[in-house]
């Protein structure tokens, strides 16, 4: 197993930093899957994670100038799965704010590590080198099945969210009222955020939101035909989890698609050139 990647372009470094920062806000422990073409950050749907799950993939060619990955074996197992503490990666990458180059490689120190090596500008002829050794655990191939791309559920409603900043401000205010928030929307572009307690109920409504186009030949899935267009599908979720998703955003996507499975789950899909990020939040039992 071997992995070595290098970024020299400062914009790519910043871009990668944004991805790592966003991920580290969403989860504590993160699984990294490395293939020949892509790098994945995965939080699988496990009980330990409280039902939320995340899937983020990026094409390595869009970020790295050099990328070399040799997996467990050359054939079906030509991939590497690692588990890492997201905050460590975030902190390590922070050193690369104005780096000349960023190298990431898999090494074996006392334990297997992801070593981040950063070349910084200096007053002398040789650059300053910052090296971070982040301990990782290698996930054996027998468990790889748990880290597959989640299946898109049959959602009832799909719409594009208003600007995330706006939604974040609203959710931040609403969270003071209750721990649970009901997200609802319909196929006509209406969307609402509501909290309800014994004393008060507060709802913020949006209308005329964009409906993501359904391309029958493409990847997108059609919303369920059985669901009446004007009917609001809703899901009551933990407001903290929603806020984690909204507050940590540094990626600047074109749009954020919100898919709602009535009484079941909410699925966010960030659309961006180089990255795709999906985040599932299940409903909270009443």
């Amino acid at each position: 197993m071997r992995f070595r990647a290098k970024v020299v372009n400062i914009d790519c470094i910043h871009h990668f930093t944004n991805v790592v920062n966003t991920i580290s806000k969403l989860l504590k422990k993160c699984s990294i899957r490395l293939t020949k073409e892509k790098m994945f950050f995965i939080l699988p749907d496990q009980v330990a994670n409280g039902g939320v799950s995340m899937w983020c993939e990026l094409k390595q060619a869009n970020f790295f100038d050099e990328y070399r990955m040799d997996g467990v074996n050359e054939y079906e197992l030509n991939e590497i799965y690692l588990e890492i503490v997201a905050e460590n990666l975030c902190r390590a990458i922070k050193s690369a704010n104005n780096a000349k180059s960023l190298k990431i490689k898999l090494t074996k120190k006392q334990v297997p590590c992801l070593t981040v090596e950063i070349e910084l500008p200096s007053l002398s002829s040789t650059a300053r080198i910052v090296t971070h050794d982040i301990p990782v655990s290698v996930i054996p191939s027998s468990l790889w099945g748990e880290y597959q791309e989640p299946e898109m559920p049959d959602f009832h409603v799909s719409l594009c969210l208003p600007p995330l900043k706006t939604v974040k401000h609203i959710v931040e205010r609403l969270k003071n009222l209750s721990s649970y928030l009901t997200l609802s929307g319909n196929q006509e572009g209406d969307f609402a955020l509501k909290v309800e307690t014994e004393l008060v109920s507060a709802t913020t409504r949006f209308s005329d939101l964009e409906i993501p186009p359904y391309d029958p030949d493409g990847d997108s899935q059609a919303p369920s035909k059985l669901w009446p267009p004007s009917e609001m599908a809703s899901a009551r979720i933990d407001v903290k989890k929603l806020l984690q998703f909204l507050a940590g955003q540094q990626i600047n996507p074109y749009k954020v698609i919100c898919n709602i499975v009535d009484q079941s789950a909410v699925h966010f899909f960030l659309v961006h050139d180089d990255i795709s990020l999906q985040y599932f939040i299940p409903v909270v039992a009443v």
Partner: protein, 424 residues
Amino acid sequence: QIHYLAGLLIEFQNMKCVLPGANVKLFAKAIHCLAKLGHYVYFEPLDTGLALKTVNSSRSAYVSILFMKPLFQVYNAGSDIDLTVDDDNLPITRCKVALKTLLQVFKSLANIERSVETCDIDLDGDECRLVFQLKCKHGITKTHHLTFQECESLQAIFAKDLSPNVLKCDHKVLSDVVINFSSSLEEITMLVSPCKVVLRSYSDDESDEIAQLMKTEVSLNPEEFSQYQIGVDTDVTFCLKDVRAILAFCEVAAMPVNIHFEVGGKPIIFSLGHNGYFRANFVIATIATDKNSQHSNATANFTTNTTFPTTNKRSFVKPSRSKVAPKPLRKVSAQKTNAKPQPTKLPQPKDCDSINSEHDVSPEIPLQGGEQTNATRYEGFNSPSPKQPCFKNVKTVFFAATQPNDLDRTVLVLAPDSDNEDGT
């Protein structure tokens, strides 16, 4: 305070000084720095200026910051007197104040920079208060009366000038390096060799838990230092938190930093200064590693061996008033080749004592014969020459009593005391 001594009427004067606005920010930042390290700040008005000192509770960090007379509009150290009267009538010239309290006076640096025009520091012997009066814009005056405790003099023993390893660099170099380390990291190791300096996160425990922590390492080329003298290839481990506090202060002082050190177990000294105006020494203990044993010592402590002055054999010195207009400390940029900053428009300080401006002279008395309690000879140390003083294990006395009569002992004085209260 008026006293009769052998029929003569003698007027005592207590410490009184006035700092102009431009230098109050530096003073305030010094207080902030001291507050991160110790619980009390020891005020010692000397002939050359006002010294602020502190030591942390584990005695592993000592700070001495000397604001010299030219920085003040008015500087009156208070009169010393040769006396045979009883202790009750001693003028108070040294006191210590709780840093938590003092920090309240200088809390907001932004505010201080913006609005303080002068800062008066008076020692009110009658009321037993140290009075800070901040005269601010718009006619606002803030007066703080702080209680103090009379105290012994805090002096550290160290011989900076004999350190085989000396590094000098811009404080920004160190700040840029230190920022890469986790804010929760306690200790850091610095490894030096003639070709590079490496700073590495330190953990004193090799257990599984520690293996799971992220490790960071930064390497620097000697070219980044304006002075790079390595006499002994070594590694020293010391408290990173203390260094962060020091670097925060350096940012305001805006001067290059000198680092003197030797081997593990001996203190590492960070110092900065602007000749004739200002001098700061930060002495931090380093972990003593016995290469032969399984364990390395815990962070070395040094004990304070101070006693209250019983007899003060100080000659009567007229209180000196600095008539020179105070000079705001100009920002000095680090020059790689020419280490001496050039304050062009500032005249030489008039009442400058014999401060040797060419060398960095340790202000403290490095001495002591057999007064140590747990004195054990440092195991790994080989004196290059027989004249070398006996370097004690850092565990033992770091501080000494300041009785001038102790100097009578047959001890080699390494660095003449430039701030001797005798005035000699």
